[in-house]
Amino acid sequence: MSNHHHKETFITKYVFSTDHKMISKQYLITGIFMGVIGVFMSILFRLQIAWPEESFTIIEAFLGRHQDGGVMTPDMYLALVTIHGTIMVFFVLTAGLSGTFSNLLIPLQIGARDMASGFLNMVSYWLFFLSSVIMLISLFVEAGPAAAGWTIYPPLSALPQAMPGSGLGMTLWLVSMAIFIASSLLGSLNYIVTVLNLRTVGMKMTRLPLTIWAFFVTAIIGVVSFPVLLSAALLLIFDRSFGTSFYLSDIFIQGEVLHYQGGSPVLFEHLFWFLGHPEVYIVILPAMGIVSEVLAANSRKPIFGYRAMIGSIIAIAFLSTIVWGHHMFVSGMNPFLGSVFTFTTLLIAIPSAVKSFNWLTTMWKGNLQMNTATLFSIGFVSTFITGGLTGLVLGDSALDINVHDTYFVVAHFHLVMGVSAIYGMFAGVYHWFPKMFGRMMNKTLGYWHFWITAVAAYGVFFPMHFVGLAGLPRRYYSNTAFPLFDDVADVNIVITLFAILGGASQIIFLANFFISIYKGKKAEQNPWKSNTLEWTTPVEHIHGNWPGKIPHVYRWAYDYSKPGHPEDFVVQTTPLLDGEEES
């Protein structure tokens, strides 16, 4: 089975590969590329927010006709925040995060030779690649890319008369997202089938590492919710191109009455957030899985409350599909619905609290190995708690009224799902880099990368809460039209300086990452002394993962520092000792 003798060409090995390990690398590199663009955009619009009338050569150089003497146009500002959001949420934190680590770890950690369908897996990546290309092409459209916010609420996104970005730019956005959704569905189905069917002998569901549980449940959420976004996008395409009125009614724009009658933008909001809210868990659950694994391995301790962790993942997944309305408290929907969604939303705080306390307890009385991945995992717990707590304000319909759509929201979700998920992704990259590339990343650079990023992230998003509480709405090109907000200007400068620092520090990561691929120190087979199966495969990648038979599993993944064993880790393939009880 393992000794396939057919010849691999460059094309089948590096381009149209069906090997999950190669596809995982393709996802990661594409994700990093998109991430660089997304972060760069945020630096550009942060310059505008901090110094609204100042001229910048960098803006002049990059924004072409969408700037005037080094100052970006209002439409370009909105386009930048829109595409930044889209790229970071979907292309980096969904495809880049799930795509990379689900592909790499699902077969390796459950003891399978590859994904259930290598071909579908390849198609999934190339659809993602195609959608990335289309999204990038949309940046060069004459009137500019989509600019209605990443939530693309109609009628703004439906009517080219309403803003320049709602013309061809918006069409390309929708086409790109439709392809992206197809890619995501193919990937997710593959992950689900693989986890259910291809686990090796002895790998019961209750012996799976939490990474696999997280990826598995994430895939289920994706399959349940992404099709709804597809339908929302299709109906929007109908409204835009074929004159239907799903979302539009009674519109008078630029001196004329449009024919639309009977639709409602609120319908779009429901459909959008039915994906949009589960989407934040699609982003954060894989990061939680990675952090659970990395924290346990580096604390040299079992993850605390394994079953409770699984329970919380499932609870979060279930609840995530019934909380979408908390994005719509002031949308004009019935206030009674607001009450219902407040209730379900605050329920989700309970499994989140359980997970946070369990991570803390995992560290308690551990023997923490401060590898770079550990630092990012601890950083994850910190930003997840800080960001999660302000969810108590936003999830409460009454309190949401006055902070809805202000910078308070921006600060909240960037900490709880943006920074946290990125930290999870970094933890994953540092931890599994030896598995992906057979070499190690440099730890000193890793430390510098973490500490500068950690200081910058809080420097950006902690003061930002205050900007929101001052009543400043998000997505304002400039607040010079309001003397009321003149005193916010200083805070905005501080935030932008930290943003530039944080953005620039990612260069350290990029250098470390790309140089280590070629020049890094050769990895040992099990560098972190982990229990999980991926470290039983040879360092050099082979098709089929294990040279001989696939390993059998006799215990769960978290027997770290178990009494009665000489080492402080016990690989899952180790049979139980005489009289040893399974944990």
């Binding site: 050569t57 209002p74 439409d75 909105l78 609420y153 009628p155 703004l156 309403a162 009674d250 008078f252 724009i253 409602s264 933008p265 040299r300 079992p302 605390f304 409350g305 394994y306 002031v330 949308s331 004009g332 206030p335 009450s339 407040t342 605050l346 309970i350 307890t361 308690w364 009385k365 551990g366 023997n367 923490l368 190995q369 550990t374 601890i378 708690i385 707590l389 409460d396 009454a398 309190l399 006055n402 440099n442 000193t444 650079l445 809080y458 205050f466 009543g471 709405p473 997505r475 304002y476 607040n479 003149d486 005193d487 916010v488 350290i508 470390n512 020049k519 890094g520 120190k521 402080d568």
Partner: protein, 335 residues
Amino acid sequence: MTAILYILLTIVLAVAIWQITSILNLKGVIATEKDNNTQGILFVAFGVFFYGLMVFSFWKYSIILLPEAASVEGERYDNLYLITMLLILFVQAITQFLLFFFAFKYRGIKGRKAFFYADSHKLEMIWTIIPSVVLAGLVLYGLSVWNDVMDTSDAENPLIIEVYAKQFQWEARYAGDDNELGLANVRNIKGINTMGVDMTDKNALDDVPVRELRLPKGRKVIFKFRSQDVLHSAYMPHFRAQMNCVPGMVTQFAFTPSMTTEEMRANEATIAKVEGINKIRAEKGEDAYEFDYLLLCNKICGSSHYNMQMKIIVEEEAEFNSWLKSQKTMAQVLQ
């Protein structure tokens, strides 16, 4: 100035690249005991930075926050907000402390074995039940405030005002003597009938169209929101009020103003905030600013979204009534 900035930037980049390549020659890849020690201490330092940043932000930035609520409903809002915020800060302070402390205290030492501790139902029950109980309380209180704000069925003699949104300005219409708004639809928009009021509806005749919003202190105001083109959101932060304006439907929000513009200008927090703003404006050579309530657009609506505003004036009811009397009705305007 920018030239120097770019030169500096180039130097920093060059130094950074040089440093990065020299660090890369160090082949350290796995944390040693010395690393564990250094990083553990750095987590303590980070904890100090973290709490320092919190304290600094509260000390330095509290001045930019909104002053106390200017509506009766807003006072309840502020109270709920305060309780929630105290709870958040309490939990935040404890959990982050534990996190950074554990990172320091349990930093790896060679030869030490970690404590094998996989499960404790008792502990897990504690941190399931305590958050549940606290959240239940918060939900109940929150919902009572929410119902209080959203339910207008028991309002006595409320003032009815339509707030009308379009790219990129606000208009408004008072319901007039009969306190009932006439029907309206965008298909009736013509000439100076910019809100599309249906003049065949007799309720419409006494409606009063305005470009400046005035509200009486102490009387409940029910706002009816419409939009003619895209989504907008009517945000009145000082009153803790916000509602989206949705084309094709009428949305609603209500509050009772409790402080006139003059009273708010005399409020201590407002005075401090305005002083701060005027100091900044003086430095830039701009005119002094005087406090006013505002209606802002808070839903992305196009290029001039950032400048879609209307002034709101709150005054005593008698003053308000005489002002409203002096305004022309729809019938008079369209004559």
